[in-house]
Symmetry: C2
Subunit: 280 residues, 2 copies
């Protein structure tokens, strides 16, 4: 399998990862943990975030520009670390690219389908991801007996970005959003937005111990490892001492991004550069 890319893609090449902003860093964190040899180029579209309330056409246009930008680094694969872009843009972009791409939706859907025992799965996400019904479609492909309950939670992203990860207001909003999912007696809940793992403890407390929370960021890193192995692209070379393997780019507000990013990836974000993404 590896010959297919050997002319162009190198084991030592970086992995491209992108998100509408900062949420994708929860995916980067998992890749760093599970694939410590890999270099990462991250792009956060902070000038045009959030994606979760925007249309398929707009999210696809924005994502295409980002793929062009990441390709300028000769990345060996691209991780769409944004549920909305995975739902709306991934399929089109895969068709246009000869680089393997992976989103966060399929790995999360697969794990949920395997985890549920009572065949009742909840999905919480942005308006766009919920409106696409992509989690429902993927889970039903794997297991037609599962019933999926979808709930858009548009206030979670601003609450997380305001830093209210542990706060009575976040509790109250979460209770309103989640109440119907509790009533319906789901046993598995997909955190269908990359910001949501940051309020995982609040969500877990409200849903109760019986409900398993699925974090697609974690599952995506596992699937990425399998993909790289299959393609013969896994980097087996350990980083050199003192080498900085991680580069971060944004479309706006590099300093603000760096501060927030270091609250997710402790001391991992050494520098962030701003670029004009509309040129790509």
């Amino acid at each position: 399998m590896s010959q297919e890319y050997s002319g162009r893609l190198q084991k030592e090449a970086p992995i491209g990862v992108f998100d509408s902003g900062m949420g994708g860093l929860t995916v980067v964190r998992e890749i760093m943990r599970q694939l410590p040899n890999e270099k990462i180029i991250y792009f956060g579209d902070t000038a045009r975030l959030p994606y979760g309330s925007k249309s398929k056409a707009t999210v696809t246009r924005f994502s295409r520009q980002i793929v062009n930008f990441l390709n300028s680094f000769h990345v060996k694969t691209i991780v769409v670390a944004c549920n909305t872009a995975s739902a709306y843009a991934l399929e089109d972009l895969e068709g246009e690219s000869d680089i393997p791409m992976i989103g966060v939706v399929k790995p999360g859907a697969k794990t949920a389908a395997e985890t549920t025992k009572n065949a009742r799965v909840g999905v919480i996400a942005t308006e766009a991801t919920i409106g696409s019904h992509i989690y429902t479609d993927y889970i039903r492909e794997l297991n037609r007996d599962v019933t999926i309950y979808e709930k858009a939670c548009p206030l979670f992203v601003p609450l997380v970005e305001e830093g209210l990860w542990q706060d009575p207001v976040t509790d109250e909003i979460a209770r309103r959003y989640l109440n119907e999912l509790i009533d319906i007696d789901i046993d598995t809940l997909i955190l269908g937005c990359t910001h949501y793992p940051l309020i995982r403890s609040t969500l877990g407390r409200i849903m109760g111990e019986r409900v398993t929370l699925v974090n697609p960021a974690y599952e995506t890193a596992i699937e990425l490892r399998e993909l790289l192995l299959l393609k013969g692209l896994l980097n087996d070379e350990a980083p050199r001492l003192g080498e900085n393997r991680y580069q971060f780019y944004v479309s706006d507000g590099a300093d603000k991004f760096k501060t927030f990013a270091n609250s997710i990836i402790k001391y991992g974000v050494l520098s962030t550069k701003t670029i004009d993404i509309e040129r790509y």
Copy 2:
């Protein structure tokens, strides 16, 4: 004065109004009330909203594209119905344009400076507007004795857009943001973001009767009238029966915009079109 523009600008031409999204509709509502003869072309940059957390360079680039779009309708004046764009971009754009432009910050600052009796004024706004200190600068120009207290309230916009105009959560968040302004004993509070008039009753209840709330949307419509009179551009012709004088454009999600818009301007938004603003 009117000769200056007579070759190009016509009394019958529309007024261009723009905002990052929907907040600017509170300004449109005031213009409709105070200047019922005027035609309006509104643009809301829903693909790239919000502006309030973004940088000066980015907000200026976005605003310049919108001015180019509005100029394609031969508008006779442009109202920057967004505090962030007024703070960051208006001065640069005025320098590049031969059409009169007006923002929401100066009218609000002027009214606050005239209203306060104890010379203590509060300003609530987005992070970007607060970070620019533009209200403070304008008020101090008018009256050096006024002390201005600034407070960024980043959650108000998502709460308004989620429809929680009257809600215990909005109360709780408002109390946290406003507590320090109450302690400081201000007697005048500027609603420095065009979304905030929509939660005016909550803000008024929390601040108490002693505090006057200044709504720059209202003051801007008054100043717009004065500007048009001065330039000889006020439209004195009443609309024809059944004529639709208002056109709405957005960069994404026309249907969603229309629904929200009609909750602000009752039955006033008949149709909304989506355009690609990055082309301008």
